[in-house]
Amino acid sequence: MIETWYIYLAAAAALVGAGLYCLLSMRNLIKLFIGIEVVAKGVSLILLATGWARKSVLVAQSLVVTFIVVEVALVATALALIINTTKHTKSLDVRKLSRLKG
């Protein structure tokens, strides 16, 4: 069972790595947010896979459900923020956000 768990760990690490790369290198605000989503996928995968390997799927499952709810609230708020800042700066470029002048 622990060998199978390493496969899940590798997949989750790949997801988190890809998401971190997106956060570090991209400039489009929506693309950055897709990177956050990819990291969140990796985290929920490793939560559930660890629960499965330790034979406590039920607790892991309830944690994953909580995590998904939090993720949805985060996405709704952040996309509303992106729409508002885009109206303000007239661009989706994250570098234009460094001028936080009114």
């Binding site: 496969i7 991209m26 400039r27 929506i30 693309k31 034979k55 709810v69 996309l79």
Partner: protein
């Protein structure tokens, strides 16, 4: 086992495509497909409720929200990403995987395993009796999200 590995490879592949795709709509759809695959992985790990949540909420609702945002911000034009970002991705990925494979196993051996009691009861017992505090937290987070969206989209007052 082979099916599971195929699902995981597809999940990573579609997530990477979502990051590297030039068109934002395409990358939102790739994200939805990878959520779908993650939901199937959850089903096969014996967690049907998490799978249902992943497929209906993340693959459905979040994709709709993303596409709505892309449509609303389309007038502002595209952002030019640096070309280096796409070229350097495989290099970063390989280096990350190497460091991960070297460091992770040593780290994991240092962490002691907690005693895990075998679980009894059903999912609803665990969710509603043992994790009641989580449900309160979920309610608080949902309310905070609703009020944040309301506050962000309110009409401007006259004296502004």
């Amino acid at each position: 086992m082979i099916l599971q590995i195929t699902l995981l490879v597809g999940l990573v592949l579609f997530s990477v495509l979502a990051i590297l795709a030039k068109d934002l709509i395409k990358s939102a759809i790739c994200l939805a497909v990878s959520s779908l695959l993650l939901g199937v992985v959850f089903f096969r790990l014996g967690a049907p409720y998490a799978g249902v949540f992943e497929i209906s909420v993340v693959a459905g609702l979040i994709t709709v929200l993303f596409i709505l945002t892309i449509a609303l911000t389309k007038a502002e034009g595209d952002v030019r990403e640096s070309k280096l970002a796409r070229i350097a991705f495989p290099l970063f990925f390989v280096v990350f995987a190497l460091i991960d494979a070297l460091v992770m196993k040593g780290l994991l051996e240092k962490i002691p395993l907690l005693e895990a009691a075998p679980e009894a009861g059903s999912f609803s017992d665990v969710l509603w009796r043992e994790r009641t505090f989580d449900l309160v937290g979920q309610l608080a987070v949902i309310l905070a999200g609703v009020f944040a969206v309301l506050a962000l989209f309110r009409k401007r007052d006259n004296h502004d």
